[in-house]
Symmetry: C2
Subunit: 330 residues, 2 copies
């Protein structure tokens, strides 16, 4: 790879001048600029971001970290798309860290991100007390949280009104005449899970029909949905509707329902938290609480870039609304 010296030599100037045209400084004679540009072309020269970054720590690295728990979850891929769009528009590249709730992995990734001197990080912490993330923030690293916050620390957050979304979903179920409404919940150590369960419970309690044996707790993955839905269906008097805590759980529950040849919504109704772009491809099309995942990613990206440019801007907590996508599963 040709370096700046090669270009300078070829153009018959000093490296400083080369640097100047590269950085679009005004004070360069048009003739020399052209010569240099020509040399750059001929040598296929590309400036090394590594050297640049080393030299000036105040200059951006144009590298962003994204720390997400599960890239297999369509919600996160939409968030990621939103982030990526904004990143691209601002010339940032993304280091993707899919840490799958694995501590060692998170440690390694956080380490790398720091060592790479990224400009900022977007993170979806699985738990509010993630000390490593907090440390990173104390370090001065620009961070914005997505989906969930971090307790006891001021940080930009873009999330969704989980409780209200859940409440509305369950209220809709009630209004539609369902009486025994079950809930398949994700891990209760995850803030969103507890908010959703809270909304679910409040809707039911408002009508005085909450029954705690109708809620099942698992992790946040597909298998959990399969299994917990099975348990619910096996009950002496099974539920007539299910509110699933996230899209993986919904999908898992659907597998079980279809396997047992239950008709939706006649035998069992279902409503999911998290919409997917192919929810209409399900049979029947799924009624779901839509989180504006792509938008969340976009906003988070914007917030992060703002913060990078102005580290002292006060923290913003952004809460977006969910939307009940009414289709035919209940």
């Amino acid at each position: 790879m040709a370096g700046m010296v090669d270009v300078a030599k070829r153009a018959g100037v000093s490296i400083a001048t080369v640097s100047r045209v590269l950085n679009k400084s005004e004070n360069v004679n048009e003739g020399t600029r052209l010569k240099i540009l020509k040399a750059i072309k001929e040598l296929k020269y590309r400036p090394s971001r590594v050297a640049k970054r080393l030299r000036s720590k105040d200059l951006p690295s144009y590298l962003l970290g994204v720390l997400i728990p599960d890239i297999q979850n369509p919600f996160y891929v939409d968030v990621l798309r939103g982030i990526e769009d904004i990143a691209y528009r601002n010339n940032y590249a993304i280091i993707m860290c899919n840490y799958g709730q694995d501590d060692k992995k998170e440690i390694m990734y956080l380490d790398i991100l720091q060592a790479e001197a990224i400009d900022g990080l977007i993170a979806a912490p699985v738990n509010e007390n993630d000390q490593r993330l907090k440390n990173l923030i104390h370090t001065g690293m620009p961070v914005v949280c997505v989906d969930r916050g971090l307790s006891g620390i001021d940080v930009d957050i873009v999330s969704v009104n989980n409780e209200e979304g859940a409440y509305n979903a369950v209220a809709y179920l009630i209004k539609s005449g369902y009486k025994r409404i079950a809930h398949i919940s994700g891990l209760m150590s995850i803030p969103t899970s507890v908010m959703r369960e809270k909304g679910y419970r409040r809707a039911l309690e408002d009508k005085g029909i909450y029954q705690k044996d109708l809620v099942r707790y698992g992790n946040s993955f597909y298998d959990s949905g399969v299994k917990l839905c099975g348990e619910l269906l096996d009950l002496p008097s099974p539920p007539d509707a299910i509110f699933a805590g996230n899209n993986l759980l919904t999908l898992g529950a659907l597998e079980t329902i279809h396997k047992r040849k239950k008709q939706i919504p006649n035998d069992i109704a279902i409503i999911g938290f998290d919409d997917m772009f192919w929810s209409s491809s399900l049979n029947p099309p799924l009624t779901a609480v839509r989180q504006p995942a792509y938008e969340i990613g976009k906003r988070a990206g914007e917030l992060l870039i703002q913060r990078i440019n102005d580290p002292r801007r006060p923290c913003i907590r952004m809460s977006m609304n969910t939307e009940l996508m009414i289709r035919n599963s209940c």
Copy 2:
């Protein structure tokens, strides 16, 4: 951020010695090593990968690029997961480049990857003649292609036997008694699309029942599936089965089928290329050609790391088999 000098100062040694313990060199007195380790702890020192990389170009950067066309396609997220797993095990982080068939984006990403001095790249080129990618390879950058190759250039490839997978799927449809088997194809500029269409056609021609008005071409996205499936259903004598060219097309087709209240498989059967972990959640559960996407990613990751460590190893073309996942949609 504390630097090596700070550590050296604190431990009362020179930076050279600090570097030695960091790089696990043998020749360090146990006492000094301990002192240094202690200083590192106390100062929370983290070596800068940037400086390291700048210094020695022969040392790995532990950064891999992944260039994929569409992260919204579940196939690619599985590939990505496979890559990520291998990367993680080998201490590599990933710069994710989702270029969505956008030329400008590809240019920018390729630029960044080079400028970041990544160790290697895994790419799924949308077309076989991607000159930029070829140039990158000529540059000496370790690259492995996934899903599709690059014409006229020797490069590691891990792909799938698309033609055979398609053939088997259609043969299965024929064996099941379907007579008018349609095909919704992705962009014909993408090599995989042409291979799949070829398999489809061959299976039909083998039985002498190929009808070219039953194949519809679009791009490779959801909307295309929705639309083309609609066209097919509108035919004076519509097909009795559909073979969809990828999972987005399948999902799109399903939306249309459900919207029109057609029963699967009685009114119309469907078989998709690409399985998804939630194919069983569909109603009826979808019969699909499974590509071992995660495995593909893994193998690609392994191949890349091999190549990084031994740039002169001869190129390997790996073709993996598809598997027909028979469920209830046909």
